[in-house]
């Protein structure tokens, strides 16, 4: 059985019904354990003091904010190339989740920046491109909402998603391109020297896992909702015409 079969809404719903409880449960476990571990049972950093604890929220959410856009990109491409409705709807369902992730990253980053950099916000390349990515999220959602015909909306938002990817890439790699901002570089890289200490690393990994799982749970659930909206719409339309 090929993977594409799950592009059928009914199959998709059936599969997601089965997977979702596990996803919800696992993500809750990871998040709770990770956050509690990080908040209560890790020492303060010798330079940053207790503010390192923000890392357990900031890094996973920033990571997911960008990855959510890449996931939308993939879904949009699938829609453009193979025209599977479910993938278009999945992209639509992911956008608000991405916005929330972006907001969390922005807020926690700003709150962290005040003690660390002495300012809430700086116009550094990574931060700026991240903010523009946020705007793209808003535009993407607004465009979906504004267009009546769902296929047209899917086409147009896909194009927008392609354009916005530039800023997603920039907010991940801008640090490498310019190297002049305030924001730190990739501290999670495999390069041991730059890596954060193990005490912080393990709960951080758990939190990242929690955010990833939560993201997938939300997207799966919301895609189901979108499918039901379309089904309701199709039924109503049929009803009106037969009458």
């Amino acid at each position: 059985m090929s993977l594409w079969e799950y592009a059928n809404p009914v199959k998709f719903l059936r599969l997601s019904e089965r997977v979702l409880p596990w996803l919800w449960g696992l993500s809750a476990v990871c998040l709770v354990v990770g956050l509690v571990w990080g908040f209560f049972f890790t020492p303060d950093d010798f330079r940053q003091g207790s503010t390192v604890k923000i890392i357990y929220l900031h890094v996973p959410s920033a990571l997911m904010a960008i990855n959510a856009w890449f996931m939308m990109l993939v879904a949009s491409l699938i829609w453009i190339v193979r025209r599977h409705h479910v993938s278009a709807l999945a992209a639509r369902a992911a956008a608000p989740v991405g916005v929330v992730m972006t907001l969390i990253a922005l807020f926690t980053g700003a709150i962290w920046g005040q003690p660390m950099w002495g300012t809430w916000w700086a116009w550094d390349p990574r931060l700026t491109s991240f903010l523009i990515l946020f705007l793209f999220y808003l535009g993407y959602i607004a465009l979906w909402e504004a267009i009546e015909d769902p296929d047209t909306a899917a086409d147009l938002t896909s194009i927008l998603c392609l354009v916005g990817t530039v800023f997603a890439v920039l907010s991940r790699y801008a640090v490498n391109f310019w190297n002049q901002g305030l924001h730190q570089g990739a501290s999670l890289s495999l390069d041991k020297e730059e890596n954060v200490a193990d005490v912080f690393y393990q709960p951080l990994l758990l939190c990242i896992a929690g955010f990833v799982l939560l993201f997938f749970a939300l997207v799966l659930y919301r895609t189901g909702t979108e499918i039901r909206v379309r089904r309701t719409r199709a039924l109503i339309a049929r009803e009106g015409k037969l009458a």
Partner: protein, 51 residues
């Protein structure tokens, strides 16, 4: 409760904001999902009845 020192405000508010936002998106998704499901049931009922 661990001692957060002089950064207590920052750390606590970061956790508060994040948790509120996470709960909000989960809650909104579930709420809308339930409503849409109910709507769909109603329409399905109607179409089945009307043939």
């Amino acid at each position: 409760m661990p001692d957060l020192g002089k950064y207590a405000d920052a750390v606590l508010s970061a956790y508060a904001v994040s948790i509120v936002l996470l709960v909000a998106i989960v809650g909104l998704s579930l709420w809308r999902g339930a409503r849409v499901r109910a709507d769909m049931r109603a329409v399905e009922e109607r179409t089945r009845r009307d043939g």
